[in-house]
Symmetry: D2
Subunit: 332 residues, 4 copies
């Protein structure tokens, strides 16, 4: 027929994506084919992000992102040592966090700056995970780091600097591991969802989007947090969306008000940098908050979520698809 299609095998089903114009072909043309359960026509640059079955992503430790109350992922910018990490992990758990973050491989603007403890840090993260039961997320920047991190952490983070690194996106897509994808500083919302689409197309539907500020002329804040993007993304996709107010603002006194705002406009969670002794943090010290402030933020987030979602059913299942044909992707 001359149509080219991409086949995506996820853990539960098989999707066939036709990204050409099929508006002239009737739906039953596809639905009558053998093995086709359901046909979906969408006009979107991101058929998988929009069309997949639902917003909740379950991590190995049982934590869920999307579909229920807000999850707070907290921890130090960099893993600085074993004792520091275990200590902070217990404290963020005590403050109510549902996940632990910690940088093992640090992308730094200058090659002369501290670049993280690497493999050693991954082992401390595993230990902290075992000690607290918190699922762990860490950033990876290359295929080699994906391989190292995969057996040790619950979720792989693609940082803002690598959102356009399509080879890496495909790599974490193939891993089938949950992925936290951060928006690049210069990415339009359209580019952001299409970056997610690269991961989804490898059959990995466990993608969480993270708004973390875009680059503008304003210099009072490190970046400009674009909370409108959260509302847009919730309309455009079925993916969970969380917000990182620490990197967005770069100032600890702004983390709490922006955390409140993020949850109020519908974010499924927050990612926050916490340090027991913020002024001594080895990276990003000006934006780290203490565990005590984190506890307040967790309380805020839960209260706002409850207030605005009084009847929310905590389960979020919709009927699963087993095969879908999604037509007419649009270029962003």
């Amino acid at each position: 027929m001359g149509l080219s299609a991409q086949v995506v095998e996820t853990d539960q089903h098989k999707l066939v994506i036709i990204s050409e114009d099929i508006s002239s072909l009737p739906t039953h043309f596809f639905s009558q084919l053998d093995g086709v359960d359901r046909v979906i026509r969408v006009q979107t640059p991101c058929p998988l992000a929009l069309g997949h079955e639902g917003p909740a992503i379950r991590l190995d430790n049982g934590a869920t992102i999307g579909g229920g109350g807000p999850i707070i992922i907290a921890g130090p910018c960099s893993v600085e040592g074993r004792a520091q990490l275990i200590d902070i992990a217990h404290r963020v758990k005590g403050a109510g966090a549902g996940g632990l973050r910690g940088g093992a491989f640090k992308p730094r603007t200058s090659p002369y700056d501290f670049r993280g403890l690497g493999r050693e840090a991954l082992e401390y993260l595993l230990e902290a995970r075992q000690a607290t039961g918190l699922p762990v997320v860490t950033e990876v920047m290359s295929a080699e780091q994906v391989e190292l991190a995969l057996p040790l952490v619950d979720m792989l983070q693609i940082g803002a600097r690598n959102m356009y690194n399509y080879e890496l996106l495909r790599e974490v897509g193939r891993s089938r591991h949950p992925v936290l994808l951060k928006r690049a500083m210069s990415a339009t919302i359209n580019e952001f969802v299409q970056a997610a689409e690269y991961i989804l197309l490898e059959g990995n539907l466990k993608v969480v989007l993270c708004e973390r500020g875009i680059r503008t002329f304003e210099t009072c804040t490190r970046n400009t947090l674009d909370l409108s993007a959260v509302a847009v993304l919730k309309n455009m996709t079925q993916l969970p969306v969380i917000v990182d107010p620490s990197h967005a603002t770069g100032k600890r006194e702004l983390v709490r008000p922006l955390s409140r705002a993020a949850v109020a406009c519908g974010a499924d969670g927050l990612m926050i940098e916490v340090h027991c002794d913020p002024p001594r943090a080895m990276s990003d010290s000006s934006q780290a908050i203490t565990p005590a402030v984190l506890a307040d933020i967790v309380d805020d987030a839960r209260a706002i979520h409850r207030l605005l979602n009084p009847d929310k059913a905590l389960s979020c299942g919709s009927a699963p698809l087993s095969t879908a044909v999604a037509a007419s992707t649009l270029s962003g």
Copy 2:
């Protein structure tokens, strides 16, 4: 002594501003002078915005902005006719709005577009004010328009396009009328507060700041709403800060989530475009919401404010100053 000073006479007191470096002079040097009640040293580009007595601004109709619950100012982008305005005024009041907006003089990018009904619209606004008791705000763009609007409306709006129009800022400063100052699309937060300072320096302390989105590369939204600015402005100044999610996003489906976010991060109010028949609005139709949605937003705003300010005393007085010496303004 070679120091140059600016004298500001407000309705209640007289301020003397010395914007040179006086760090070497002891405070008692000034406090011992005749008629000096109090000496304040501040390191800020906006000594009046930071130093004045408190956040609440009372409009003629008794409405208050700042210091209490959130105020919602709502109404059509343009006043399109007498009947339309009276109708919408009653409806926004019914929805819980505390103020009425309506454009008489419309700044339009193209000189070929509808520029508002002008003087005629001002009279309809007065009538709507009398019919509903709602205080009224309208935009002015020249000294002549200030003169026309002054006796008829409760608050003069300086739009984003005129934030850098320092002659107009001084004009509304001299009017002593409450002023709603919108942030320019390209203004840094520092420039924004210094624009307010132009008004304050004329002795008019009744200035409300309004964040309405800045210009960025993102095209999914009309502008990028900068909610971090709300939190920064609340730290940098004593002025009330409200948010306009309608102009910021340009899309009606984003108005409610961003309204929630604005109040959650501390905004003192919202300015929202409402139209009884949004698709037929003569300007900005894609961002207007209906009165029914407005009612939901008012409920959200009140509930979020109550949740986050459980113990807030509704009065907001601090000891008034009668004379102040503010030192060392910094250039932004």
Copy 3:
């Protein structure tokens, strides 16, 4: 017929602009009307900027902008005193400048900064003009300043901060005086040409556009000079376009290379800040160059223009219109 039209009377002819969709009406429908010389159909947001008769604007002193070699307008940011101005005027003339700039009324971000000598400066400018024969341009920010400057200067400048001040644009339009219109820091090219259209619509066709940098995230330069805009504007309009590399870059060492680039991509001239003792300039000292560097820039500009326009006829007349009907303005 239900069509609304705007009538523009310029010094030479009368234009009738119909900004509605008239694509269904044949051209002869208009051309057969009494007194219609010519009918022009354009699909543009700026029918006057595109449709008027040609690029050259003649100032009172005989200088021409557009259509011939590049004009260099140079002088101090602020007029600081009589002696300073006369001295610098002679020097910029000696360096080959074709116009003198000097700020009498200075728009300053902070109300605590030096705001120019005002009316006094206008008189010094007139004196410098008489002493050197150079045409003079100065910025105006209000109707009152237009009135003061009109009899004394050759060209009125609308600064970047007032590009969206439509009341002021109409005021300088009504003056029929040559106008230098600077692009706002946040203005799209479409908004820029439509701001010019406000002036043209008052019958004043003597408008020169000035690109002076836009606001971006880059902080190495004060603004980001958008030279693509020069090429776009030359295609979109018939108006002369000059470039201000001083405000764009904010750094004196960048003025010469960017001046070369501006002329190379087709600018009709340059506006440059020159000071005899740059470090002591009362405003914008870091971007002022010396008269000696100016002389090099004038030489560069002439040589590049000659190289790239070997056959350029110096006269630039095209047949004048006396009445035009321009259809279908597009919103930007």
Copy 4:
């Protein structure tokens, strides 16, 4: 002594970089050490980009970038087939180009778009190189692609989307192959030179910087070409700087004027998309020019360069260092 140092071995010498504050240590402290030839103290975030021996980079085919006349690298966005590439290669050579570009691996915003012919395209590039003698540059996006391209092309391109992909920068650094590094859409100039520093630190000094437009609010052009960056980079570093007006503007009619401007402000070369049948190009068709226009641009570039560099010695050697100690890198 507690100082940490990074050792860089280049093809000619060994550099020792100390990026801590050594302002209190006298220069002879280092110069007396065994094997130290020369000590350089610099206050810069990019000691290698600033301190290395000179601007010229020699490719295998004998072409030189930097230090002499402008080099024009031209060719199709994507390699679309063998015949197309050989044809266009002969034509760009005929037009005066000094290098051939062609995309084998295409980074595309949407995973549903054409992503290049891959390995097959690399072979066509080699063939085109052999047929014309033109050195060839192609983009790589992963370690695997570096390995594939290395034996076949003269220069590896890091595209704008991968400028922050530090693992890839280190990979091409280790390759010792000439690298063309494009500025990311959101990169400050400081971040750009520090990305280059990642490559240089691996001992690969053959880095050419390429300005290709940054992301701003302007929508008339695809990006905003930042020619000020060229002048800044020439002051901040010793690296050659070229400009890509095709991606910057996204419009073929703007390529020639901006090419002229780029060379006029000091660029060492241009990178331009050329297609024999631009409207049929498989990617970026709206910005491709024809070989005939390219020939005009080559002529322009040479003439402008000659005009502005009358005495330029074509050789650009400065005394080579064999060991250097560069102090105090600054974070950007």
